[in-house]
Point group: C2
Chain length 207, copies 2
């Protein structure tokens, strides 16, 4: 599904939240919902939800609400997760291992197809559906498998160099778990997961 | 350090990013920086950085920039990470294990002091500095150790019940890795880490 240009990134960032909530609703047997009900679940105002969705067209009728499965499928199309994206994990330490074993990817549009590490003791070990590969083969693997997405679970000091290699090979989206800000070209998307940043944001409010 | 009231949450959310960048600068031997240099590193405008920091007072002089260590210590005080917060991890699966072993907490204000699980096969095993405890002892442990912060790494279907127990026992900040939105009282802070949401936010932009 082609999407209208110029939609604020913060709106795009809320669509996965809606998608997750709608998936749960469907699992719980709800077939119809409303921006009010969705807002109650998520702590987001119903006006905000209606405004966000209105960027992409008409999904519900005034007074009758949204068809859960229809809205869900539309959001999957908009976010392009109505397919399965192959991903690589770089770094097979504790975190890389958890990512390789994580069972939540497949139902939501993603599959780990390769796990890489530099450590000879890790190369060849089985992690989930994958056998850890030597990082020497990273670029070839990415090109051969058309991989566009990588998860980076290497130490901070190695992260930039690995990111550079990923990008040269064709990766355009990086989920970076290393606690550093990466320098990347404008056509590469990076998201960061650093648990400490989330914790520090909460301690501000504790008394 | 007491903080001025009414500072937007989005500003608070950027302070850990500044703190992380300043820590790296200090490690790299920088003693002075500017909003311009910080902005270049982070992809944030220098005007935004100056505006964010101005909520908390004067940290630099016009034309001479910021003293890195001074600004760093001020930010630590504002975020209340100039101390060590004890945390519990609930769930000793792959992810809980990665959290228990993560070495990045201590230098940044946090320490895992307890790891809990329901699985008798996991209880008693050693995870990093901790031995996994039976979840039956969760409330007593939280109260006895004055724990205010928990990381939730349990399956989605168990997350709300565990969160309720944590909150009754005194936890006020939850970092939730389970892929569901928790219902919590207004005085409890929740942050979410769901890698799929970050991935879905990026696939929108891939062509």
């Amino acid at each position: 599904m082609a999407s209208p240009p110029g939609i604020p990134d913060i709106v795009i960032g809320r669509l996965p939240i809606y998608l997750r909530a709608l998936t749960q609703m469907l699992q719980q047997g709800h077939t119809i919902t409303s921006s009010h009900e969705l807002g109650q679940r998520l702590g987001i105002s119903s006006a905000q939800i209606r405004k966000d969705l209105s960027h992409f067209g008409e999904f519900g009728k005034q007074g009758t609400g949204y068809q859960v499965d229809h809205l869900l499928n539309q959001l999957k199309g908009i976010l392009q997760v109505d397919r399965e994206w192959p991903m690589v994990v770089v770094g097979a330490g504790d975190l890389g291992r958890a990512l390789a074993h994580y069972r939540g990817f497949v139902a939501r549009g993603f599959r780990v197809v390769g796990v890489f590490d530099t450590d000879p003791a890790k190369v060849g070990t089985v992690q989930g559906e994958n056998t850890v590969r030597d990082i020497d083969g990273l670029e070839d693997f990415i090109r051969q498998n058309g991989v566009r997405i990588a998860m980076l679970a290497v130490p901070a000091e190695a992260a930039q160099a690995v990111a550079d290699r990923l990008i040269v090979a064709g990766v355009r989206a990086i989920l970076n778990y290393a606690p550093i800000t990466l320098a990347t070209p404008a056509n590469v998307h990076v998201q960061y997961i650093d648990p400490v940043m989330h914790l520090q944001r909460m301690t501000y409010y504790l008394d």
